[in-house]
Subunit: 482 residues, 2 copies
């Protein structure tokens, strides 16, 4: 794809993060060919490089979802309006942003169908048919799917009318088991996002004002982007018996009595791709965590003179053999681009490690490695590549997490009053502010109205916030958010 | 899920294939919990067992798609009506069965969007933006997605309003490369369907009357179901320059001249799940090819007396260890169902091999194996399980293919005239009939009108049909089809 053809100095064209973060973001997403705009209002095209990243994320998360006992299934894209309307809060939250199918074939439909904005309603309907006895519980099902929310303002990956996600939907016999599941999946998300995406998060509970439409409680993981804004990276909902009661999802308990089930739902989406870009990107473009990078190591052969070509090519075979099958590599031997142009391109695309292989390297039986995270260069002997490259990739992953965590921690401040929260965001507009919260909606509302910050969560881990604990109060994190 | 709770003799409830094949099919799909009906017109729910099967199929096909140089991407679900209308044949073929989105949020849209029935239009639009130079070619992209065709009559998996599929879309510099791609992917499909699904197919070209709306030529693989009807199992389209011309997809060739690209598209869908059911199923239910079966080996422990339980459970640990991690196993130690009930259940669900482990087996350090395909029983010593089970699974796979091929071959007859084709389907209504075809549409039309059979393809492999070759004629296969 030749979006960059001719723009040999495209890195120099990149807007500065400090000048206009939002413009920098859009440029990186498009220049790195993660995604493109489409002719469909608010919908994007996920290009092969962006989709390869998503596939790696899917695989690593899917493994965790299955390891915790869930199975995948697939439910209909369309949801009859009458089903969506059964749960009052749910329909109030989602109906305003639904896309509606009103015609099928050549006929006007008797009832409108919503393209799923989320699937609680259709899945609740099916669960009411499938669940009969306590022996059928728990039901632990996940779905990978596209969903649609007709948003007015959209941003590539962060907020698009259509996006891809997984949504888990489970049903349990007791509230205790239900809550355990909610927290289990929150922890799966925390571990996945921190371990694989190298994005540090605060895990905690949402306030009533911020919870999912139809839920009893919502739990969340919250990350901090480089512009200082928070991003909700995944949510796990305690649905209580809200849907069970309106969809009549009941089971016969061991004593022969009819009981309503307790439900959860939880999801993460392609929004996480945006989180990777905004957590790790820098002035040269994308930086991808090795665990999910479509290409972990790019090899750029260098030959000035035609007679070098054979020797370098021959040596490349040995290099690939030395690296082995467990590293995702790409060799870029295109003749029409210079090595320097390629270096820029793969830095823009965030490839974690670059190998430069020229006649000098052939002569010394070594290759030059260049890390994307630190730009550190080091010559590695051919014989050591098989062990050194995986170790270097692991170190890039670790370093990226530590850099992001240091940034997040530096940008988390502790204050003791509502007024200080407001003063912080009036002056800085960035970071997390932790504060003791009296539990009132008025406290949240005043902050939101005066400085645009919202309560992101009440963090579970209070090790850094011990000094804020007060009787009758919860520690709450505020931030301006995506 | 308790759909079968209480129906201890549910196998006996299964309709005979010979009595009512269509009813048998629906019963098996639902009793084996592959899929269920939904409250959305023509849409189904793919349940975890059916989706597990689809996931295994996806993985094996995706590997082949990537090995032939393709990358996955994701394009919008919605297609603006104006884009769909650009290619005249395409819109004529698909518009009558589109579902239309006419409202978004709370507003009526200025232009209708179709939920994609297939993605040539939206992808063609994007390719026209991405492709500039001969250096950008070929473009080799595949998409795994849901699509929607508002069909009047629907059948679980075989014909549903919404289904899941993959659609490959490629662009090439020359017609020669384009045709090579079309045939390469047809061969990928043939190999995938025959090797992994154990379904023998005839690969060949469609007649003009049967080709894809908007294509220059369509190639297909055609399978034979147990009721004698053919099923189109996958198609690969030579799109020529039809879409390139209307979407203005051009590249600059090496001489600096603008040229239109040549395109292909190709797809298989969840319909293949239906093909597996109807190719391999029998009077006891489903039979799944081991290569794609979600559970390859089910282990049923047997204990009559409580004191047997500990010894059997302990032995089971050794059995699982002996089998190792490369076989997909499931242990069913539920107490509320008898071993006999479980045997029936897993036969209904088509699990390729069952292991019965009771006190006698413990005593002799062996397990009883029962094959689903032949129902052959054999005791296998614990020490040999690790090698014997994989070999047995491979043999089940091979036997199932051979059985299906023998059935297909027995039900393929050779005739020399149109009148014989008509006479065949008037009498038998089943099987493939091969006949020399003069190339006229009248020949096809008369057959279709008089006996409902359609031309499935002109097979590439003529080894069985050599006697039908005539100057100025092509060998054509006719069948009544799904």
């Amino acid at each position: 794809m030749s979006e960059n053809t001719g723009k040999k100095q495209f890195v120099e064209d990149l807007t500065d993060q400090g000048d206009d973060f939002s413009r920098w973001y859009n440029e990186v997403v498009r220049k790195a060919q993660l995604a493109d705009y489409s002719p469909v209002r608010g919908s994007m095209v996920i290009r092969p490089y962006g989709y390869g990243l998503w596939e790696n994320m899917q695989q690593l998360l899917d493994r965790r979802i299955k390891a915790t006992g869930h199975e995948n299934a697939y439910f209909p894209l369309l949801i009859p309006e009458s089903l969506l309307q059964l749960e009052a809060d749910h329909v109030e939250g989602f109906a305003p942003e639904c896309a509606w199918v009103t015609e099928g074939g050549r006929e006007k439909l008797e009832e409108r169908y919503a393209i799923r904005p989320t699937s609680e309603a259709i899945i609740g309907h099916m669960y009411s048919k499938w669940i009969e006895s306590y022996r059928d519980l728990p039901v632990l099902i996940n779905q990978w799917a596209n969903v649609m929310r007709w948003e007015k303002v959209t941003r590539l990956f962060l907020r698009t009318a259509e996006f891809l996600w997984q949504e888990g939907h489970t049903a349990h016999a007791t509230e205790q088991e239900c809550l355990e599941e909610v927290l289990r999946m929150l922890e799966v998300y925390r571990d996945f996002v921190e371990t694989e995406l190298a994005i540090p998060v605060y895990a905690g509970k949402k306030s009533d004002a911020e919870r999912f439409a139809g839920a009893q409680d919502t739990y969340t993981i919250e990350a901090l982007m480089k512009d200082g804004k928070a991003l909700q990276a995944g949510t796990s909902h305690h649905l209580g018996q809200h849907f069970a009661k309106v969809f009549d999802i009941t089971y016969q308990d061991e004593a022969g009595k009819r009981q309503h089930v307790w439900q959860t739902s939880w999801g993460v989406s392609t929004r996480l791709v945006g989180a990777i870009v905004m957590t790790h990107g820098d002035e040269r473009g994308l930086r991808l965590p090795p665990n999910v990078a479509p290409v972990q190591v790019v090899i750029v052969p260098i030959w000035r003179k035609e007679e070098d070509k054979a020797a370098v090519s021959e040596f490349l075979v040995k290099v690939k053999e030395a690296i082995g099958p467990n590293v995702r590599i790409k060799v870029d031997d295109r003749d029409q681009y210079s090595p320097g142009w390629k270096y820029n391109e793969y830095e823009m695309r965030g490839v974690p490690i670059r190998l430069e292989v020229g006649p000098k390297d052939v002569a010394s039986a070594a290759v030059m490695t260049v890390r994307r995270d630190t730009r550190a260069k080091e010559s590695v002997p051919l014989a050591e590549l098989g062990t050194r490259l995986p170790a270097m990739l692991a170190d890039v992953q670790k370093t990226m997490f530590e850099q992001a965590k240091a940034f997040r921690d530096e940008n988390t401040v502790l204050v003791t009053t509502k007024e200080e929260v407001i003063a912080h965001f009036a002056a800085e507009k960035r970071g997390f502010v932790a504060v003791p919260w009296d539990g009132t909606a008025a406290f949240e509302t005043e902050i939101k109205e005066k400085c645009g910050a919202t309560m992101r969560c009440m963090p579970h881990d209070l090790s850094r916030f011990g000094s804020l604990e007060r009787p009758g109060h919860r520690v709450a994190l505020f931030a301006r958010a995506y």
